[in-house]
């Protein structure tokens, strides 16, 4: 039996493309979790909201892409900051599961509102790049997935660098490790909280444009957030690097499972991996283990 290397290469490339999208969305989860210790399940719905906002501006109002993209990102910043200030901050100190449920509630509201405004039918986003396929060697790749991969890689590199070298990221780290102590050192903790939600929501909205460009948009596309959550948990909820590694890995596994076993095996493979990981290393590949204190 001969192995079709070109086919394998194509699957690998599409897996990497999907993984990059998961990684960039994962950054949003990590940013919020690291600072505020909240797992925000509404990230998936925020992503969907961003995609629909872009759809509304470009396809319905006919605005140019170069205007729509910055507007979506600014909208994401305002949306995230608004959510943090009005709903999440008053929940500070409540049990993590309660806050988790609040974000589920927020997600549900977003889905309903989007359905009311744009209807339940799926749509296609207008493409930022040309539809012409690209060949890497003999393998065919859609240009959309190359663009989304490039953007995702740039975003992740940017955040890794910022978190490593920007002085302000120390505020973030201090707040993450002990909010009370950080506050008494003069760090404006509420502002750090606000900032993390604002930036994370902006990332999610921008990621929504990429995801929508590749796969089309529908009110159910928020489910993507659940897969990303799995990835983030496997990588370690507070590790961007872990998210990146696991996202690419899961992207590849999904692509191979989807091609060789059938589409329905995509989700199951992610969740089986997750269960195994939780069993073996509950805090994820690169995450910090939490210590229980009485």
């Amino acid at each position: 039996m001969t192995i079709d290397w070109v086919y394998l290469l194509e699957i690998t490339l599409s897996g990497i493309g999907a993984g990059a999208l998961m990684a960039v969305t994962g950054v949003a989860f990590v940013l919020i979790y690291r600072v505020t210790r909240v797992v925000n399940l509404a990230i998936g719905e925020t992503l969907m909201l961003g995609a629909y906002a872009f759809f509304g501006m470009t396809s319905i109002l006919g605005w140019p892409i170069l205007v729509a993209v910055p507007l979506v990102i600014v909208g994401g910043v305002l949306f995230g900051a608004g959510l943090e200030r009005t709903i999440i901050r008053p929940m500070l100190g409540q049990s993590p599961v309660s806050v988790f449920m609040v974000t589920i509630g927020i997600g549900s509201i977003i889905v309903g509102v989007v359905q009311l405004i744009w209807g339940v039918a799926p749509h296609r986003l207008i493409s930022i790049v040309s539809e012409k396929p690209v060949f890497i060697g003999p393998a065919y790749v859609s240009s959309k997935s190359i663009v989304s991969f490039t953007i995702a890689a740039a975003v992740i590199t940017f955040f890794l660098l910022v978190l490593r070298y920007w002085r302000g990221s120390l505020h973030l780290k201090a707040t993450a490790s002990d909010a009370g102590a950080a506050y008494s050192c003069g760090i404006n903790v509420p502002r750090v909280y606000l900032l993390s939600w604002a930036v994370a929501s902006a990332i999610a909205c921008a990621a929504g444009i990429l995801v929508g460009m590749v796969g089309g948009i529908s009110p159910e596309m928020g489910v993507f957030g659940l897969s990303v959550l799995c990835v983030v948990i496997m990588g370690g909820l507070d590790s961007i690097l872990g998210t990146l590694v696991v996202a690419l890995f899961v992207g590849l596994i999904d692509a191979f499972a989807g091609s060789f076993l059938g589409g329905e095996f995509k989700q199951i493979s992610t969740f089986t991996l997750l269960l195994l990981m939780l069993w073996v290393r509950p805090h994820g590949l690169f995450g910090t283990a939490e210590i229980d204190r009485l």
């Binding site: 509630g105 309903g112 009485l294």
Partner: protein, 348 residues
């Protein structure tokens, strides 16, 4: 202190206890009478909702044991209901057993699957546990939709109506006599549970698991027990569900149903038996109330019928966010607060 005052006090106390008792007795008497005459009093439409509420109450009470009393949040509750429903469907199809056997067996199968899921999942806590249970429920869902030989895939299984002494129980009016008594017994069992050693151990684990372990409660054993009990309730609810709707597909119990039951507890009042009951009744009726009110708006709103699903999702989210943010103790606390001034004036 003279003997006379002591007697006075005890008389007053006895009077209070006596009055409390008779008030409770009256309540019990009225409920019992209502329970017996309800099927003859109400229309088929109302009995449909009564049965559905009773099924949801059973399931919510199960989740309450796990989340409200043991502090372990699970997002896999719907999957355990599905196990109960599928067990009934399969036992009915292949063996044709009576509901008297299949319903408890459905609960037991669900409990077994629950334990199987719990053993690896209980290594983690809090949010991680919630996510591990999502993973488990996705895997169960996958089995239901792809194990064609047994579960008939996406087409699902049809359940024959339950039989009792030659009577076909295919109407809510008749199913009432199975569903509601089961619900009452299971609620009573749950509320009694927390007066026993096991129930108190659950509460100790919820309040602080490390402390509970230090005072000698074997954590893993009791957490496992809580998971099993909760899945048993879910399984029984699923079994009743199967007889009520008479068709079971993989889409009958999506992950949204698990979220629905968490929302039931949040809205009703987590960690109280009454909260689970009120929450289940309220959350079951909300979609219907929305449908009725939006349909009534029809003459003024052109698209009032098409927006119903979207409005339902929004209201669902608003209820979760609103209750967690403004009244985390839920409806039961609100009702208590409204009732309190009246009760006080009666006592003084």
């Amino acid at each position: 202190m003279t003997p006379a005052t002591e007697t006075d006090i005890s008389i007053v106390a006895a009077a209070h206890v006596g009055r409390g008792l008779s008030y409770r007795r009256l309540l019990w008497g009225v409920s019992a009478v209502l329970f017996v005459i309800a099927p003859f009093l109400f229309s088929e439409y109302w009995l449909y909702w009564v049965c559905l509420i009773a099924i949801n109450v059973v399931s919510a009470t199960g989740l309450n044991i796990l989340w409200g009393y043991t502090g372990l949040a699970s997002l896999g509750h719907a999957a355990f209901m599905a196990v109960g429903a599928y067990s009934v469907a399969l036992l009915d199809k292949h063996l044709g057993w009576s509901f008297l056997i299949t319903v408890p067996l459905g609960g037991l199968f669900a409990a077994a699957v629950g334990l199987l899921v719990a053993i690896p999942s209980l290594r983690v806590r809090g949010l991680y546990l919630a996510i591990a249970t999502i993973a488990a429920s996705v895997i169960l869902q996958f089995i239901f939709s792809n194990w064609d030989a047994v579960t008939n895939g996406m087409k699902g299984l049809v359940v024959q109506p339950a039989h009792f002494m030659g009577v076909q129980l295919d109407q809510p009016r008749l199913l009432y006599w199975i569903i509601v008594p089961t619900a009452i017994v299971l609620i009573k069992m749950a509320s009694n549970l927390f007066r026993t050693r096991v129930g108190r151990a659950f509460i100790a684990i919820r309040d602080r698991d490390i402390s509970a372990e230090l005072i000698g409660i074997p954590l893993f054993k009791y957490k496992l027990l809580s998971f099993g009990l909760s899945s048993f309730y879910a399984g029984v609810a699923g079994a009743l569900w199967a007889y009520f709707f008479r068709v079971v597909t993989p889409e009958s119990f999506p992950i949204e149903t698990s979220i629905f039951f968490l929302a039931v507890l949040i809205v009703g009042g987590i960690g109280t038996i009454g909260g689970g009951i009120i929450g289940a009744a309220f959350m079951t009726l909300v979609p219907e109330l929305l449908r009725i009110s939006l349909t009534a708006l029809g003459p003024w709103m052109a698209n009032s019928a098409t927006v119903i699903p979207s409005v339902r999702i929004i209201v669902f989210g608003v209820l979760i966010v609103g209750f967690l943010r403004l009244e985390p103790q839920g409806l039961i606390e609100l009702i208590g607060r409204i009732k309190r001034p009246f009760l006080k004036s009666r006592v003084s």
